[in-house]
């Protein structure tokens, strides 16, 4: 991805300089003190001026859940809709108004449980939406039931003997749903989060950004291993396009392809195998390697968790194709003439 994408050019630019303050609404933020959502909100509000779009042409649409209160705090247009349906509503808005920058804010319950269908279909259509999926691996607003990303055996109020269902890996799911842009980041890493937002905003089509977000009330410390500076060095794999995939203290671990299975595996880097270390290619036409990367993390311990942009490829955008068909129809048949339409083929005249 080089220059700002052509679709972004359809959205009017801000006239003057913007600051983070311009994007704060007058509403009091009501998340629990210490919630990871605050950090994401600050990062988004801080990033928006960099985007430089006219504030009135930005819309945030959300579903239901803690994170879905997000639009109230953004001084843009916004809709806090109903559970799971934000991608569908945003699809109608984005496909009818290409002059808008449309963002969806959703959570693991909202996007992957009740709204799973809308999410996968938005991804396969490649509607021009930026979807921020706040994943805290728990239901917060309903007070602590396990979610579709909770680890197997999770003890919660609704699963006192442990949850029975295997979790979704949102990145794997999105890649399987033909997503053209999939990234993962962490609420507490402002710099990384902002960089991922930058790339997502610049992507023509649906961008799915999974944000690991701490719920300090019902699932505190769920991502601690990725946040604690010392543990993170060993646990986090930072993906950068064009760079060898290495991590660990002093970059001593690397990802290589297993010639026997074709799958990826982690090895200690040695002078002998250094040349074999996989170079990350986010723009690869095939999603195979991106999918393999998404499977590296241990779902229980989160060790070997890649963050960054897994996949970012150009493919036709639904809104553009829809608009093109309208233009083509006018070219082929002329602008619609209601009188001619109503008259149709077979008519007869009754004279008075």
């Amino acid at each position: 991805m080089t220059d700002t994408n052509a679709l972004l050019q359809l959205v009017p630019k801000a006239e003057g300089r913007q600051s983070m303050r311009d994007f704060k609404s007058d509403q009091e933020v009501r998340w629990c003190p210490g919630c990871g959502d605050y950090a994401v909100l600050a990062a988004v509000q801080g990033f928006m001026p960099e985007l430089g779009l006219a504030r009135e042409n930005i819309v945030f649409v959300s579903g239901i859940g803690c994170s879905s209160r997000f639009p109230y705090y953004m001084n843009t247009y916004g809709m806090h809709s109903i559970h799971g349906r934000a991608p569908a509503i945003a699809t109608g808005l984005a496909t009818s108004r290409r002059d808008l920058s449309v963002w969806v804010v959703t959570g693991d319950g909202d996007a992957l449980s009740i709204g799973g269908n809308h999410l996968i279909h938005a991804l396969r259509r490649n509607v021009n939406l930026k979807i921020l999926l706040f994943n805290n691996r728990i239901y917060g607003l309903t007070k602590g039931q396990y979610s579709p990303t909770s680890e197997l055996g999770k003890i919660t109020k609704s699963t006192p003997m442990g949850s029975l269902d295997a979790p979704f890996n949102p990145v794997s799911l999105a890649l399987g749903a033909e997503a053209s842009f999939v990234a993962r980041t962490v609420d507490s890493d402002r710099k990384h989060l902002t960089e991922v937002l930058r790339q997502a905003a610049d992507h023509p089509g649906t961008a799915l950004v999974e944000i690991y977000q701490n719920c300090n009330i019902f699932n505190d410390g769920a991502f601690e291993v990725l946040k604690d500076r010392q543990q993170a060095e060993e646990a986090v794999i930072r993906l950068e396009h064009g760079q060898p995939i290495r991590f660990g203290t002093d970059q001593t671990k690397g990802v290589v392809r297993d010639p026997a299975t074709g799958d990826l595996k982690i090895v200690p880097v040695t002078p002998d195998n250094e040349a074999d270390i996989l170079v990350h290619d986010a723009h690869s036409t095939s999603p195979t390697t991106a999918f393999a990367l998404s499977r590296l993390a241990d779902p229980d311990t989160l060790h070997n968790t890649p963050i960054g942009v897994f996949r970012s490829v150009d493919r036709p955008v639904y809104d553009t194709l829809m608009a093109d068909q309208l233009d083509t129809a006018v070219e082929q048949h002329g602008k619609g003439d209601l009188a001619a339409l109503m008259t149709g083929g077979d008519t007869w005249t009754v004279v008075g």
């Binding site: 247009y77 916004g78 109903i82 349906r85 699809t91």
Partner: protein, 642 residues
């Protein structure tokens, strides 16, 4: 010859209005004022196409008509079985007619199953054209008969025309490079040709239609036209068909103008496009395919040059969700569905009530509950439209009365949605959707102005003098809130399904505010300006028959029969079911008896009994078919005499 023809006077509904006369071809021609034909065959026999073409020929000839397609939900049920029978009934007349007719005068049966499924509806003396080459032993066994009706005497009393339709069709197409199976497919066109001869229908339209339908397969077009002409010629030459019939154009039934034939779903689609033009807003349809509403999705998808966006969603919920999103962005937003889809959309309709955005929900009702009878008609979604949501969530309801009226009803629903910033239900049904009638094509300049004023700037001054925008500050007249589109500088605002503070639209859990908002949303809908209901009561009757929706045709036909028999009865028909016309209570109280015929178990009757404390009586039918005029007339007579 004439001895073989049943006396026209015995025929169900058609009256002979002219004496027999000799046509040029030495055959008798009789003039009738009204005929009802029915074609029946396998779902794959092309009966609906045959019916459509005969309807178009008849409409372009200028007859009044009121067709009734009737087909199973299965696309191709096993051939030759009773569940697979598909039929098309068309009455046409030289005068205004309102219903598909009670009993056909003519039945074209393409196989024994079609004969068996339909014979019960035929009065003695009716003409039956039977495809003899389908009456094999095996075919008879499929419908549970050992003997052929052609020779077991079971059709005595009918005027039977045994025609080897399949053989004749194949014979007529022998010069074409077609397999026998391919040639057999044209037998419906042979039947259409024969019927067209019998009733003096113009044929140019059908030939033109076939050429255009099979433009990419000229051989198939030519074969179908050849079969069609062979059918016509068969009628002309064979001695079995001694008489043909003329039904004069219904000139007096129609005011001057240019007419076309139009189905309910087509009229509704055109109404939506017209509303978009009159509102100067782009049309956005979010929809999921469902019978019998899908034709609206198909039709609107063909008119992208009107700026129409059609979005086939992943499910019913996404269909209305996308529409609501488009409404937020300033489109004239529509979702189309049937009863099961409405159930799925309920939560989003509630959100639209809360957001107070314009949105049309088109419900082409079908038999329920659950999947019910997908291809049959019913009016049993009225209470779902009225009350099928959580919380107090009033939604206006508009119902068309005839197929062509779907056009005007769509414009009216759009007017209410746009003026009052509310979702609106448009309740059509399967009978209107697939039925058709002549429609006087309106001049676009006659259509109502639906232009909308979007919010452009601040609408409120705070105590400190600051100018601001309040998304829930209402118009004092309509109680509508401003519609501020994204992209308008300075009006950035957030809306949602959580209760909002009056005026500011901010989240509010305040008890008094919620009470106020619930009452205000109700008052907005109650205050919608709808025209008074008109009563047709020429002789100061004591009994009123009140209907809504597609029962208009049968009720009006029944009322005419009663009045012709010297009875007094008043008739009124509701287009607006929420809110009701403001004079409805007064009208109802002016009659001793109020009868409400409905294709449900009394949903409108329940509403008016609750609202007006009127002892309305229900007359109900839920068999998937429209009322028959005679049956309704009998029921109304009982009410009058009671």
């Amino acid at each position: 010859m004439t001895s073989q023809v049943s006396s026209p006077a015995e025929q169900a509904d058609g009256a002979v209005v002219g004496e027999q006369r000799k046509a040029a071809g030495e055959k008798d021609v009789r003039r009738l004022d009204r005929v009802i034909i029915r074609c029946a065959g396998d779902s794959g026999d092309g009966m609906q196409l045959t019916g459509d073409r005969f309807t178009s020929e008849t409409a372009s000839f200028g007859n009044a008509l009121s067709p009734l397609p009737n087909f199973p939900a299965e696309i191709r049920a096993p051939a030759g079985t009773l569940p697979g029978v598909s039929s098309f009934q068309l009455p046409f007349a030289d005068h205004d007619i309102l219903t598909p007719g009670d009993a056909p005068n003519v039945l074209v049966a393409m196989n024994p199953a079609a004969l068996k499924a339909n014979i019960g509806d035929l009065p003695r003396g009716a003409e039956i054209i039977v495809t003899t080459d389908e009456c094999t032993k095996r075919a008879m066994q499929k419908v549970g008969s050992d003997s052929s009706p052609l020779d077991d005497g079971s059709l005595d009393g009918y005027h039977l025309h045994p025609v080897p339709l399949t053989t004749l069709t194949v014979e007529a197409l022998k010069d074409f490079d077609l397999s026998r199976k391919e040639a057999e497919r044209s037998k419906n066109m042979f039947a259409l040709g024969l019927l067209s001869w019998m009733y003096h229908r113009p044929t140019e339209g059908t030939e033109k239609f076939l050429k255009s339908k099979f433009a990419k397969k000229p051989d198939i077009a030519a074969a179908n036209i050849a079969a069609f002409r062979a059918g016509w010629n068969f009628g002309e030459t064979t001695e079995d068909f001694a008489v043909s019939y003329e039904v004069a154009p219904a000139a007096k039934a129609f005011p001057p103008g240019v007419y076309r034939n139009i189905s309910g779903n087509l009229a509704l689609s055109y109404g939506l496009i017209a509303a978009s033009r009159q509102a100067d807003l782009p049309l956005y349809l979010g929809s999921y395919p469902i019978t019998p509403a899908s034709d609206i999705l198909h039709e609107l998808s063909r008119h992208k040059n009107f700026g129409v966006r059609t979005f086939q969603a992943e499910d019913e919920i996404a269909g209305i969700g996308a529409a609501l999103g488009a409404a937020f962005g300033g489109s004239l937003a529509v979702t189309t569905t049937s009863g099961p889809g409405v159930a799925l959309k309920s939560e989003t309709i509630g959100l639209a009530v809360s957001l107070e955005l314009p949105l049309l929900i088109v419900d082409i009702q079908r038999g329920g509950p659950s999947t019910g009878l997908p291809t049959k008609t019913e009016q049993a979604d009225l209470l779902q439209a009225m009350y099928g949501r959580n919380g107090e969530a009033p939604v206006p309801v508009v119902a068309p009365r005839t197929p062509a009226d779907c056009f005007d009803a769509a414009l009216e629903a759009a007017r209410i949605a746009l003026t009052y910033r509310t979702p609106v239900f448009l309740l059509s049904d399967g009978y209107l959707a697939n039925g058709s009638e002549p429609w006087r094509i309106p001049d676009p300049d006659e259509l109502p102005d639906l232009t909308v004023q979007f919010a452009q700037g601040p609408n409120h001054t705070l105590d400190d003098g600051t100018e601001t925008f309040w998304p829930y500050k209402r118009d004092p007249q309509t109680l509508a809130r401003p519609w501020a589109l994204p992209g308008t500088p300075g009006l950035e605002h957030r809306i949602g399904g959580i209760e909002k503070q009056d005026g500011t639209g901010n989240i509010s859990y305040d008890p008094a505010n919620h009470d106020f908002m619930v009452r205000t949303r109700q008052a907005k809908i109650d205050g919608i300006d709808v025209p008074d209901i008109e009563v047709d009561d020429p002789d100061n009757a004591r009994t009123l028959v009140l209907g809504w929706g597609s029962t208009y045709g049968p009720i009006t036909a029944a009322v005419r029969r009663l009045r012709a028999a010297g009875e007094s009865i008043a008739q009124a028909h509701l287009r607006h079911l929420n809110p009701f016309p403001h004079n409805l209570g007064t009208v109802l109280k002016a009659y001793d008896k109020v009868v409400v015929p409905e294709m449900n178990l009394g949903q409108l009757a329940t509403l008016i009994r609750a609202k007006y404390l009127v002892d309305a009586r229900s007359y109900n039918q839920v068999n998937g078919m429209p009322f028959k005029a005679q049956q309704l007339a009998t029921a109304l007579k009982e009410a009058i005499d009671d």
